[in-house]
């Protein structure tokens, strides 16, 4: 990545006293949070504590009522093409009238990729998420896991510096979920993208993240952060049996139970 642009100590994304009030209701109390370039940050917390809201602030879909979200040192003023979002409800986030190829193509069209270059790029992206065989199928003909893969392929087409993922695997079965976790880890490692990953699943957060941010509700605020000192690449069996994994899992479970009490 362009290591010259910023000194490595400067975070890529910085929340400076960001607070949000929607419709007279305080959703987020002032938040201070730094996310480093290339970092994999997972966010957990009880339902309604503002995880999605935090993600939307980075995406520029919401603008803070107080403070600023800085991206590369500049305030986020709206969505930008190098920040990609993987939505939880893949069924609604794909265009049902376009084939898998067509859905990936949409991102390339938005980027202004010349028509002649698109087919090769699309084929490569679909192959990367294991959908090469299904290029001509419509989303309605794909399984949930495949649809989510397709959404990820579309996001990768943006060649994003930041990948925002909002409970992307929440609706998938355990096997598919684990396969996709490893795929996302692989993609993040190979692209060097910064990942902001919202999840309900504490184990998923520990398994994936460099850091786990825990939020507290009413109004939403950062309750605590946990560094995840687990070796990479992660492994579904070895990592989940690692003493550090078990220790973190215990800590986080206790923490969440306390927060919900």
């Amino acid at each position: 990545m362009d290591s010259l642009a910023l000194p490595t100590c400067e975070p890529l994304i910085r929340f400076c006293g960001v607070a949000l009030t929607l419709g007279g209701r305080r959703i987020l109390d002032p938040i201070a949070l730094d996310i480093g370039r290339g970092e994999f940050v997972c966010v957990v917390g009880p339902s309604g504590c503002g995880k999605t809201t935090l993600l939307r602030l980075i995406a520029g879909l919401y603008l803070p009522t107080e403070g600023q979200v800085l991206y590369g040192g500049k305030p986020v003023a709206g969505p930008r093409q190098d920040i990609a979002i993987v939505f939880q409800d893949y069924g609604k986030a794909l265009l049902p009238w376009r084939t898998a190829s067509g859905n990936v193509s949409l991102a390339l069209e938005a980027l202004g990729t010349p028509r002649a270059q698109r087919p090769a790029r699309i084929a490569a992206l679909l192959a990367k998420v294991g959908l090469a065989q299904h290029a001509d199928k419509f989303p309605g003909q794909l399984s949930g896991g495949m649809q989510q893969r397709l959404q990820i392929a579309r996001c990768l087409a943006q060649e994003p510096s930041v990948l925002l993922m909002d409970e992307p695997f929440g609706a998938l079965d355990a096997m598919t979920r684990q396969a996709l976790q490893d795929e996302v880890l692989g993609l993040a490692a190979s692209s060097g993208a910064t990942v902001f990953f919202v999840t309900h699943d504490l184990e998923e957060a520990i398994y994936l993240g460099d850091r786990v941010v825990a939020l507290k509700p009413n109004p939403g605020r950062v309750a605590d952060m946990f560094e995840v000192r687990l070796p990479r690449p992660r492994d579904q069996l070895a990592t989940r049996e690692h003493p550090e994994f078990l220790r973190l899992r215990r800590t986080l479970f206790d923490f969440i139970k306390e927060a919900e009490a």
Binding site: A59, L61, G78, P79, R80, Q81, I83, A84, I85, F87, D89, K92, A93, L95, P96, W97, R98, T99, L106, A107, E109, A110, L111, F138, G140, Q141, R154, Q158
Partner: protein, 255 residues
Amino acid sequence: MSASRILWFAASILVGLCLVAIWQLAADARLVSPVFLPGPDKAWAALERGIASGELLDKLLGTVGRMVWGWLLASLLGIGVGALIGISPAARAWLGPTLEFLRPLPASAIVPVAIAFLGLSEGMVLAVIGFGALWPMLLATVHGFAAVEPRLYEVSRALGLSRWEVIGKIALPNALPDIFAGLRLGLTVALILAVVGEMLASREGLGLWILLSARAFRAPDLFAGVILLGLVGFASALLLSAVERRALRWRLPPG
């Protein structure tokens, strides 16, 4: 086609044939005076005669042309204005009340207005068809544009689609199923109004042919015209269905 569909198709043909047979029997038994009700044999003969002489073909082309042009006019206007209203709250606010006032007006009510402005001309007939067939298209388009999944708007923002791309690549395809429903309804209305318009303005076409045949007690000719009209409606609906199936094939079940 699956076996059950073939069976249904065969059954529907059979029902049609039965009705024709009953018609023939009723005519042969002279249940109704042959002056008013000729048998299908006589109607068919009249149809053949009219087509052979080229006379009925001319009328057919006149009516179909009117229907198609009026329908296209209504479609363009309906989809264009509908898209505008669907996409822009300002346009909805400005145009909404006017449209709500115009919409319930039956097309027949604006015929005198159209005659006053355009005379008993081809333009008048087209205007009436256009007005009548406009509403199904307009309302369907507005609905289709307004019913875009909000998530898709967020997706387009995140991808950085331009406003025009959002309209052309998200809103319009999203409205397409509704638009097709509108096109189908509009087609029916257009055929009805083409016939009525011809009768009123004395334009060459099947409608006028039917009217004049009735006045001259040429019942077989009258029925030949009615049969042709039925075929026009049937064929145009079939054609539209084929286009629709192709355009909306993403909605078909897997396979």
